[in-house]
Symmetry: C2
Subunit: 315 residues, 2 copies
């Protein structure tokens, strides 16, 4: 498969794993970035230069990654390095991790740069969690020098920040727009009913009715949260809580563990649905759609970086 490299590969004791949490079985970010650079540049040394390390460091790091995974990733030759078939696959999977890390970084940086940023954003939790990092990344690609600060809170907090001129642009997910603000719909979201696989509702043949939903104890966010507001409005204030939890994550975890049905934004459960950790239960007559809106103080149309960010969120 290779020329002279002698990676030795598999067999050894690489078949086993079990030991060590993820961090011991998955190469760290630096190694994954290096792998992507090698894939792109076709050379260990070139990749090393790009990352500001020396060639032997890169060589050794790739080698130890191959040992860790038990798979040969690159085909070394005296005139460059190409990915093996397995390496190409691994590189694609690695790219996913790196992209998630980039989103993390964009978000974390916005969280850190509290004041004196060129663009101050206030957003509700669901948007801050699931959408904003991607937007910030896109913004950074277009304007690398724009420092962005982020403050996450509920609709009222967002409105307050905007009106006191502590933020330039806000994002909310409520049913109504807080007074004193102009808004534009940037996306749509829908609440869906989910349960763990195996729940009786997953075997229903007819969609669930609002009455049934209202009659069943549910895992819910606390009163006052955007999610809960929409649900209560749709059911006429009748939602019966089985438990009330204060974060989307906690609700998901409870639902996954089989505690009962939950109602959540479809943004929040994409991964879980794809992986069959949760199953969506069709609804018949209830409209749980809600708009996601960008908001700003009446009159103060977004300009400069705020306008640019806004334009990124459409589509």
């Amino acid at each position: 498969m290779s020329s002279r490299n002698g990676t030795e590969d598999g067999q050894g004791d690489a078949g086993r794993q079990a030991a060590g949490s993820l961090a011991h079985r998955v190469p760290d970010l630096g190694a994954l970035e290096l792998l992507l650079a090698v894939a792109r540049l076709g050379s260990l040394g070139g990749a090393a230069r790009e990352l500001g390390i020396t060639q032997p460091a890169a060589s050794s790091r790739i080698r130890s990654m191959e040992r860790q995974l038990g798979v040969a990733l690159v085909d070394r030759s005296p005139r460059g390095s190409r990915l093996t078939d397995a390496g190409a696959l691994v590189t694609d999977w690695a790219r996913r991790i790196v992209e998630a890390a980039e989103a993390f970084d964009a978000g974390a940086q916005a969280l850190r740069d509290r004041r004196d940023s060129r663009l101050r954003v206030a957003a509700s939790m669901t948007i801050a969690e699931y959408l904003l990092p991607g937007w910030l990344l896109a913004l950074r690609a277009q304007r690398p020098d724009t420092a962005v600060s982020l403050l996450a809170g509920n609709s009222a907090a967002v409105a307050e920040r905007l009106l006191s001129d502590e933020a330039d642009l806000g994002f909310v997910e409520g049913v109504s727009v807080p007074p004193g603000l102009d808004s534009a719909v940037i996306a749509h979201d829908r609440l869906i009913v989910v349960t763990a696989p195996g729940h009786p509702w997953t075997r229903r043949r007819r969609p669930l009715t609002a009455q049934e939903l209202a009659a069943t104890p549910l895992i819910l966010r606390e009163k006052g949260s955007g999610t809960r507001q929409v649900l209560d409005a749709a059911l006429g204030g009748l939602a019966r809580p089985l438990i009330e939890l204060s974060s989307t994550t906690a609700v998901k975890a409870a639902a996954v563990s089989g505690a009962g049905p939950a109602v959540l934004s479809e943004l929040a459960v994409g991964e879980e649905l794809a992986m069959r950790r949760l199953v969506s239960v069709p609804m018949a007559d209830v409209s749980l759609a809600r708009d996601l809106r960008a908001v700003w103080p009446t009159g103060h149309r977004p300009t400069g970086p705020a306008r640019q960010l806004l334009s990124l969120t459409r589509g």
Copy 2:
């Protein structure tokens, strides 16, 4: 914000970053896992126990993560630790990275366990890249003890493995099912035309016609690839290559850099579209849909783990 912790936070020199690639700005996987455990258990010591390290190690690691990010993440108190608001957000972003890492791990492990696995899967590249890791993760959740091996290749290679009994279940994306195999459609995919933002096609008011597409030099996969087959069939074998590249990734990279329009599976460009690195160009009269199919030797209906994996891929 806290009791006595003294994290000191921000200011220092945390506002700046720029230096160091991602790996220097994003905590490593071990730290992120630790953070998730703290969030779940509400205690540093508890999280430490779960990960098999000591309490001081956990404490110090969380602290250095806070220093790295310049944000206080957990609120320490003599009776436990809770996430701060910022911490909750960071934790959600971290979960994305960890989930990508879990998919990586599931895939890598399948790649390593070449022979003597309980379930041997052969899949075409697009499926192996984008869908299989998630399925393997779901399978592992249900049957942690099932060792899976993965071999990626084109449709012909998949068919060959199945027919020579070197694989138990296959996945292909071609237009036709190779002879000797039974199949079931498990999902649908569509090829879409994409360009970098700013390309003239992104400002079109009418959808693109097949003729226009056929008349324009495109960034394409090489002849023989599943993607190219579908495109050539849809256009009547007329696709004009601007360049031919041998991996989806290379095509994407070329398109992002503005080299020209490309035709790719929508599975492959989800991230790029969301982030506005690429823009989709609507098509008028061409049907670029294709089925993704599970395949197995005629007669040999999947049983055991193969059947279970198959059931995970539907829906």
